[in-house]
Symmetry: C2
Subunit: 406 residues, 2 copies
């Protein structure tokens, strides 16, 4: 149990303007290298150009930034074509000023709203005959339109090329994820004194969001989950008008976004002493999480090959199965995080059996859910850097069982 | 100029629980009719089943609701197959309880995470050989996987079938859009006393969001835009740490969501007297908007055929071009709104030359943007019901030039 309840001052301050400016400079400095590595993949896969539609990929490769809510109305603005020599960003008049500001090294092409009409010209300018396309993000209708617009240009489904590159993080990217973790840690600590039985999930979720967004984050990483008592059994529940219950679980799953990079954490708190059953659940989930942490830490310490995401999931799951009283989580153990909340690498029963990439950042989030009764999940982000011998948690909010005054 | 500054009490209160319950009942009562009309389209197009992936379509046809932030992580949960006799909603364990609650008239199929693996069985159960698929929403990768999973089932791109149906609104849908407008009107009126030079765009945007989300809306319709001075020239800019400037434009573009339905409004306010140039811009944009309003109102009054969305855009644009001093907006004049912020009908230079549907709701939002200097846009929602002789603005916040104390 925590010796003292966490307070905001326990955690790092939000980054200052100078730090943010340094991150922007780092992004720009990284871009030629990122594009160079993508062009190596393109050469290996036998394509001459790469057409991207995913906002995180675009930000990472070009600097042009569309917020999470903007993609739906942006149309073709924020789609991009990488040729052998240059990068073209497609935009309509709503975005041209922003593209010039954020992506000064790219060429802006004002196709307006009719990308298919411009497609043959855009591709011809790169000299490409085979174009990789982000098939898991582009709609089928757009794919078909591009195909019809230039029938002699072959479209090739590009699956996970940039995702694999983005899984490996630079120090400035890890700094930003850590800063997002600190904003979230501070926000939860600031919320603690306001948590009492009777307050609703919805009120606490809105208040936590407010603390995050006035505490150094430009936005949430995803909608705040705040689930009381039996609702904590829903791994994907939304806050409702349900009151916080005494002597029962109160689960918060939330994250911040700082300078584009995201955090993700879950804490299952108790308002008043937990039941013996809930305390036992908490202990088993904590053991499960610690098993995964220890496994990775040991591999880093020994200079061994990193374990694969499937093996870590198996080990964490075994810690719950060994106890034998309650079912292990139905979801995966963890996921990479960065510009997107969920990205590579995956730690799950279906993850590839190849060593985890490095340096990288991912979540470790085992849980136990008992439908209609209760749920416990603990989620922290881990920074793994095998060469540097680092396996460190970025989430700093205490992980031990925390009991708030009833 | 406004005689008095708007206050929250000028606008309707948020809907009560009884009204909300009535809307839910109305939705359920409408569903058989909606499905029946879609099946007529299916018969005409020669398909036996319809596979949908768009969250708004699913809510409208089945009742199952995924929030805007949920779609990204929902996977195949919330995709649906409409056969000749029934509706099947696909979901994994995270959503099964919710599907049963919200879509009691549909069949739930727990395919888990592997839709392609279940595809042949799902389609066979409907007896279908040709399946319409929402090609403008499904990813190309998913389309290709479904095609490979049942090669003898023909996939047909369904383009805009449900969109055209959703453009025509029932009275209870219009009520909800009007309620969303009122929440937004009230929120801006409550913000007015807090607006002064020096406060940042970001602070005002966050505060306005808070007022909307604690004032009767379940969420925003989209991220609040608050743009000061030269930033108002960005038709799609985001709030930053820029302070509100005296004697310059302050543009708010925002909307609320109430019981699923959305509003969208833009007001360009001035903190301290505007320059003569900005006042002139405002007057021209107001005239442009009024031209569009008058054109539709006159057609309704005369019982004439409704104008088409292209003609209205042309007329509003001409009002700016006639003045000749400044460029007309590069975007479209307006868009339909309902469960989605942007939907049919469109009012733009490329809109179809067919009469506007009726009853319907759409925005009218001309603007003038001078890069690096200033921008003015005025946006209101109009409810058009040709048979009932209605052409009424749902947005109630005053449209005339509003000058706040400096």
């Amino acid at each position: 149990m925590t010796a003292h309840l966490p307070i905001p001052a326990d955690f790092a301050n939000a980054p200052d303007a100078r730090t943010r400016a340094r991150w922007l400079d780092a992004d720009r400095a990284h871009r030629p290298n990122r594009l160079g590595r993508l062009r190596e993949v393109m050469a290996r896969e036998g394509v001459d150009a790469y057409f991207g539609v995913r906002a995180e990929h675009m930000r990472w490769l070009t600097g042009f930034t569309l917020g999470p809510g903007e993609k739906a109305s942006a149309g073709h603005s924020g789609e991009f074509l990488i040729g052998p020599d240059g990068v073209t960003i497609v935009a309509d008049s709503r975005y041209t000023i922003q593209v010039r500001r954020e992506a000064p090294d790219a060429t802006l092409d004002e196709v307006g709203y009719d990308l298919p009409g411009a497609w043959a010209r855009l591709v011809a300018a790169t000299g490409a005959r085979r174009v990789a396309v982000e098939a898991a993000a582009i709609t089928h209708a757009d794919w078909a339109r591009l195909q019809a617009a230039a029938p002699d240009v072959e479209l090739v489904a590009a699956d996970g090329w940039v995702d694999a590159m983005r899984a490996v993080k630079t120090p400035d990217e890890v700094e930003r994820i850590a800063a997002a973790c600190a904003v979230a840690d501070r926000a939860l600590a600031a919320l603690v004194p306001e948590i009492r039985s009777g307050v609703t999930e919805h009120e606490l979720a809105l208040r936590l969001e407010w603390l995050i967004r006035t505490g150094g984050a430009e936005c949430l990483a995803f909608d705040v989950a705040c689930l009381a008592g039996p609702e904590a059994a829903l791994p994907h529940g939304s806050p409702g008008d349900r009151p916080v219950l005494a002597n029962a679980a109160l689960l918060f799953d939330f994250g911040a976004q700082v300078a584009g990079y995201r955090s993700d954490m879950t804490r299952t708190l108790f308002v008043g002493e937990p039941t013996a059953r809930d305390a036992a659940l908490y202990g088993i989930v904590a053991t499960s999480q610690q098993t995964a942490i220890d496994m990775i830490t040991a591999a880093v310490g020994d200079g061994r090959t990193m374990p694969d995401g499937r093996a870590v999931d198996v080990a964490a799951r075994a810690a719950i199965d060994t106890d034998g009283r309650w079912p292990a989580y139905g979801h995966g153990l963890g996921h990479g995080i960065g510009l997107a909340t969920h990205e590579e690498p995956r730690l799950s029963r279906t993850a590839p059996e190849t060593p985890l990439p490095s340096p990288t950042v991912f979540s470790i989030e085992p849980g136990i859910y008992i439908e209609g009764e209760t749920g416990v999940r603990i989620e922290d982000l881990m920074h793994l850097d095998a060469l540097a011998g680092v396996a460190a948690l970025l989430t700093q909010f205490p992980r031990e069982l925390t009991v708030l005054p009833g």
